[in-house]
């Protein structure tokens, strides 16, 4: 690598693109949705999923109150909706009403599940801690929904049927080049 070496801060987009998800929560008669790019599974047994959130986010407040959150995966065709969700504040507006977001019923929790999602997880909080300026919220995945036709054998995404939404940083969205998929056996 012919590289520069920085010890100062950067925007840390080197690790992008990342799947842009919509995290949902509900508490005390209020609900909200936010766009999140920093997330990962942290265990498969039990199935757990972690999301990195700003502590001042309204959604975080609802999660801290209800101890539940939803993880929704929306297709590239919904990039404008995800950006609208990510660019507005739940303290000021009801995003579900404002952006006309259709919701499915959750099975094991009270979190909103987005109808437009090709897959969604319902999570119950098992950890919530601070790393630097952000909260790291980890939930056990207690229920999972997915459009069966979007999954190929082995349960990986069928890219002929769904275009996952990737975020590159600085408001740039894109999807996957399905013609580049290659199987590389270990």
């Amino acid at each position: 690598m012919v590289g520069i070496i920085s010890e100062g801060l950067s925007k840390f987009y080197q690790q992008y693109p990342r799947i842009s998800i919509v995290v949902t929560a509900q508490a005390k008669g209020k609900r909200n949705a936010m766009a999140v790019a920093r997330h990962t599974t942290v265990s498969t047994t039990p199935p757990t999923f972690g999301v990195s959130l700003q502590s001042e986010a309204f959604t975080y407040e609802l999660i801290a109150e209800s101890k539940e959150f939803g993880v929704n995966f929306l297709p590239f065709e919904e990039a404008e909706l995800v950006d609208a969700i990510g660019s507005s504040k739940g303290r000021e507006i009801d995003k579900f009403q404002k952006f006309n977001i259709a919701v499915d019923k959750a099975v094991k929790t009270a979190v909103p599940i987005l109808k437009a999602a090709y897959a969604a997880y319902e999570c119950k909080v098992i950890d919530d801690r601070g790393y630097g300026s952000f909260r790291w919220v980890v939930g056990e995945v207690v229920s999972m929904q997915a459009l069966k036709e979007c999954l190929a054998p082995q349960e990986i995404l069928d890219l002929d049927r769904v275009n996952p939404l990737l975020y590159l940083g600085e408001q740039h969205y894109l999807t996957v080049a399905k013609e580049t998929v290659k199987y590389v056996p270990r």
Partner: protein, 192 residues
Amino acid sequence: MTKIISEGIGEFYHHYPRVACVITAHAKEKDNVMAVAWHSVLSMNPPIYGVAISTKRFTYQLIIDSKQFGVNFLPYEAAELLASVGGSTGYEIDKFQRFNIARDKPVKTTVPILTAAYAAYECQLVDDRSYGDHRWLVGEIVAVHMAKEIFTSEETLDLDRVSPTMYLGGNSYCTAAKDTRRYLDREVYGKR
């Protein structure tokens, strides 16, 4: 649309594709390298990075011994190398030697930095905890290596110059479709 609902959980690849990175470590004269898809930035100030690793991995032991790890981002053209380092174990072979992996010098730690990487982080371990069958290793990023010419002025990847390796699950790799990139202005979409 009918969704299938399950409580029994399989591999759960819905949250893929994810950028496949290479985690490196060095301790007691030994080096190792492994492929990881579960990782994320956790804070910007200070910069903190987390990776999920099974305790069975040789790399995990090296990280625990040295309290350091490297995160390397390789282009799509290196997918075969990622599969090779992901499909072999450092308990049995020296992967650097076996796969002929060239390296650059680290600046703040002793972790191997891959020459083939377009960017890499050097991390000092600050937390190590378990959420189940994997350890969650968290490090403060103490140095960033990046090939400046493949990043835009906004510090995002210039996809005309680099194709990131993304892992789809089930030993399948792909990259991002640069022709589909759209800029969505917050001022427009947040207020529509």
